[in-house]
């Protein structure tokens, strides 16, 4: 029996787990942005001309919601300046000239037997190694796990990998089953719970069988087979499928006693604790119709996208879009010079073929957006109120519950830009709320002065 949620879509998966992992030669220059997580930006710890080793910490911020960044190659720092960031904008980055020696840095030693049993030691190591949610959300894992202690009774590990194209999680399961289970055990110990539930979509049956043959129960892990459906890997959907609980609107998973950690994050935690290796590389699926692929490329953090494409055989057609992550929730990069970061699970070079946009879309009121919405929303009406500028009703239809999975817009036969509209509306509401809060704070400060 498979577990799942209501709604969802079945995109063309385009998965290629049979393509073996290929190691990308590190670029002559890596660009390490100081923002590779949600939270306070890091401050550079190195200056132009410094020599850095591979794995050396080069940026940090003491704020609780933050994660340090590390050099992914050894070499000389040639610039500390704003550079194009994959999420748009120019962000302060450290540029390192690669000396191709990969001289390792031994700041982080593997944890001792004893430390591997101590939640505090594991949490500190997660933080020091710069572990963030590597499914794409990039929320600092140490903070997430720490704030869930005492509230969380069910730890959910996300192995759905429901996004089309991406293979990184699947290949991690197939190539490093033992290490992965140990990584999950570490998260379980750090979260102070007895059992972790590992939800995996059954299109990865080979991985499920392999993991089961390694006796997950001895690590306190139960593997939960799930139906193949997008967005099974969404945090709320994963919790619903595995535990049957529904996260409250505007609430955190910890509010219903759950925390979700992704497969790749657990493997990064294994590497950090057992091998003393910070997050400096990951499997990036490089695909799309603009190049000959797909490739499952083990890529250093900070590899420019244009260089990555060249390493993967170059373009066969002019790309029109560079999508970072999967095609359903991935966002577009604005520059070939932007580097890959910790959360980049895929880089897709798309031509016109994929997105199927039309110029003047006309809603036919078919209601297909409603049947697929995993959050029980009614996108057809939300879009109507959005285009009318009726924000009061938009809020009444719970636009803030939308987590932008893109199912409605994917399934729309008329090609309405539904997710786009809701994302815009949400940003507007957030800006409005921030403005109101600032005004209230200013007023309170004035009162206090009196």
């Amino acid at each position: 029996m498979t577990h799942t949620f209501k709604g969802g879509v079945h995109p063309n998966y385009m998965k290629a787990p049979q393509v073996p992992i290929s190691v990308v030669t590190p670029p002559p220059q890596v660009v390490i942005p100081m923002i590779q997580h949600i939270g306070a930006p890091c401050k550079p710890l190195v200056a132009k001309g410094d020599y850095v080793k591979m794995g050396q910490k080069i940026g940090e911020n003491p704020a609780p919601v933050s994660a340090p960044v590390h050099a992914s190659v050894s070499g000389t720092v040639v610039a500390v300046e704003p550079r194009p960031h994959p999420l748009g904008d120019m962000i302060m980055s450290v540029v390192i000239e690669n000396d191709y020696q990969d001289t390792p840095c031994d700041d982080l030693a593997p944890l001792t037997e004893e430390e591997l049993k101590s939640p505090e030691a594991i949490l500190n190591r997660m933080r020091e190694a710069g572990v963030v949610g590597m499914g794409g959300a990039m929320f600092p894992t140490a903070f997430k796990v720490r704030s869930g202690i005492g509230k969380v009774d069910k730890l959910v590990i996300n192995g759905a990998e429901c996004e089309p194209y991406l293979n990184g999680d699947h290949l991690t399961m197939l190539n490093y089953p033992e290490q992965l289970l140990k990584g999950i055990e570490l998260v379980r110990i750090a979260s102070n719970v007895d059992k972790a539930y590992y939800g995996i979509e059954i299109n990865k049956q080979d991985a499920i069988d392999l993991l089961n043959s390694h006796h997950p129960e001895q690590y306190g892990i139960e593997i939960v087979p799930e139906a193949v459906k997008y967005p099974q890997g969404g945090e709320k959907m994963q919790i619903k499928a595995v535990t049957g609980r529904e996260v409250k609107p505007g609430g955190l998973p910890a509010g219903v006693g759950c925390n979700v950690v992704s497969t790749r994050t657990c493997y990064a935690i294994y590497q950090a604790c057992y091998e003393g290796k910070p997050v400096i590389e990951r499997i990036v699926t490089v695909g799309g119709s603009a190049l000959d692929g797909p490739h499952n490329a083990l890529t250093r953090v900070g590899t420019p996208l244009g260089y990555l494409a060249e390493q993967c055989g170059g373009f066969v057609k002019d790309p029109r879009k560079i999508v970072l992550g999967g095609p359903m929730m991935g966002i577009c990069a604005t520059s070939f010079d932007a580097p890959t970061i910790k959360g980049t699970a895929g880089v897709l070079f798309f031509t016109e073929k994929e997105d199927r946009m039309v110029e003047n879309p006309q809603c036919i009121r078919c209601g297909k957006c409603i049947t697929v919405c995993p959050m029980n929303l009614e996108p057809v009406f939300m879009y109507m109120y959005y285009s009318k500028g009726d924000y009061e009703n938009l809020e009444k239809y719970h636009v803030m519950d939308c987590f932008e999975c893109g199912s409605c817009a994917f399934n729309c036969p008329a090609r309405m830009p539904l997710t786009h509209a809701f994302k815009t509306a949400k940003l507007m509401f957030q800006a409005k709320a921030a403005k109101e809060k600032a005004a209230a704070d200013a007023k309170a400060a004035k009162e206090a002065q009196k």
């Binding site: 879509v9 409250k248 790309p319 997105d355 039309v358 199912s407 729309c412 036969p413």
Partner: protein, 344 residues
């Protein structure tokens, strides 16, 4: 390579970056494909002339749509096949002996007055094909109620026209040459496309399999008619027989599967669709039992079309993460606050 990169202008769009291949045109094409069995039965029973009516229906509908959009300098829209489908449905609801120009008038009313004047596809609140049919029904009452003898009954019936089973059932009695089985296969007089429940159910199964329509409206519509006719039978018929005669006669199947499920004019909320289907079924039975016409499907659907907006407003889905207990708690909280305000 690097100079090439300079030329490329990157598109930056919000997610999703991929979309399903099934677009509006493909959905409309699927409905047209689903109507093929009904067209075949129509030709088998009434000869080749019905094809002329279907052809004038489709051509005139496409022409009105094209002409209107061109005249008012709007974007061309005939490519989505929606007008062609309206024309085809209009043709299928014609009596087999109707003059060739009748569908042309019907599609003018349906396409121009009902659909385009309200803004085109998705904006109309009445089903264009049914509204066109209702218009013709009141303007050309005699033509619209002249029924040719189907080929399957040509040996049994003298003459070229005959009465429909419905007028028999609600009049002096159903003639013996109609059986539930022969009616299911389409051996009865009626509009070109409505006679065979078998062919229409086949088309309906295709549409549900292709995920073009959901089961909710057809099942709740037909189910309501079945239940009501089973409970409120008629003397002279066994209740089961009476139900089957009601299901297989008139335009119930065509209406429930192809007309009531029209996207623009039916509810989009899931529970709303069930309510709408039940409403259609209830009105159909009421008109058949008590109304002035023998057949009620057309008007039942048109009336429920008008209620669609209200139904959608009334039947929201539950908000994710909010249980019934949460809602009850919130209500109690509000009530308590009100009470407290009273005493202040």
């Amino acid at each position: 390579m690097s100079d090439k990169k300079e030329r490329i202008i990157l598109d930056v769009a919000y997610q999703p970056q991929v979309r399903t291949a099934k677009d509006t045109k493909r959905l409309m094409l699927d409905v047209i494909i689903a109507l093929i069995p009904a067209i075949i039965v129509g030709v088998l029973q009434f000869g080749l002339y019905p094809l002329v009516l279907l052809l004038t229906g489709v051509c005139s509908a496409v022409f009105w749509e094209w002409g209107y959009r061109r005249l008012f300098k709007k974007e061309a829209s005939i490519g989505d096949l929606s007008a062609a489908l309206t024309g085809l449905l209009m043709g299928l609801t014609m009596p087999p002996s109707a003059p060739w120009w009748l569908p042309v008038i019907g599609t003018f009313f349906g396409i121009v007055v009902v659909k385009q004047l309200y803004g085109g596809i998705g904006k109309n609140f009445l089903n264009p094909a049914l509204a066109g049919r209702a218009f013709l029904f009141s303007s050309y009452a005699t033509i619209m109620a002249t029924w040719s003898v189907p080929n399957a009954l040509s040996g049994t019936i003298d003459g070229t026209t005959m009465a429909t089973p419905l007028s028999g059932m609600y009049g002096e009695g159903l003639p013996a040459y109609f059986t539930a089985k022969s009616m299911f296969m389409g051996y009865l007089p009626g509009c070109i496309g409505e006679i065979s429940a078998f062919a229409l159910l086949l088309g309906g199964a295709y549409l549900i399999w292709r995920n073009v329509i959901s089961w909710r409206i057809p099942v709740s519509f037909i189910g309501t008619v079945a239940l009501l006719t089973l409970v409120f039978g008629k003397s002279g018929y066994s209740n089961g027989q009476w139900m089957l005669y009601n299901l297989f006669s008139g335009s119930l199947m065509l209406g429930a599967i192809f007309m009531a499920t029209d996207y623009a004019t039916s509810p989009v909320t899931l529970n709303g669709q069930l309510v709408y289907g039940v409403g259609c079924g209830l009105l159909t039975v009421l008109i058949r039992y008590f109304g002035g016409f023998p057949e009620g499907t057309t008007y039942a659907i048109l009336i429920m079309n008008l209620c669609t907006w209200a139904i959608d407003k009334a039947f929201h889905r539950h908000q994710f993460g909010v249980s019934k207990a949460d809602i009850a708690f919130k209500k109690a909280e509000k009530l308590a606050a009100k009470e407290a305000a009273k005493y202040e």
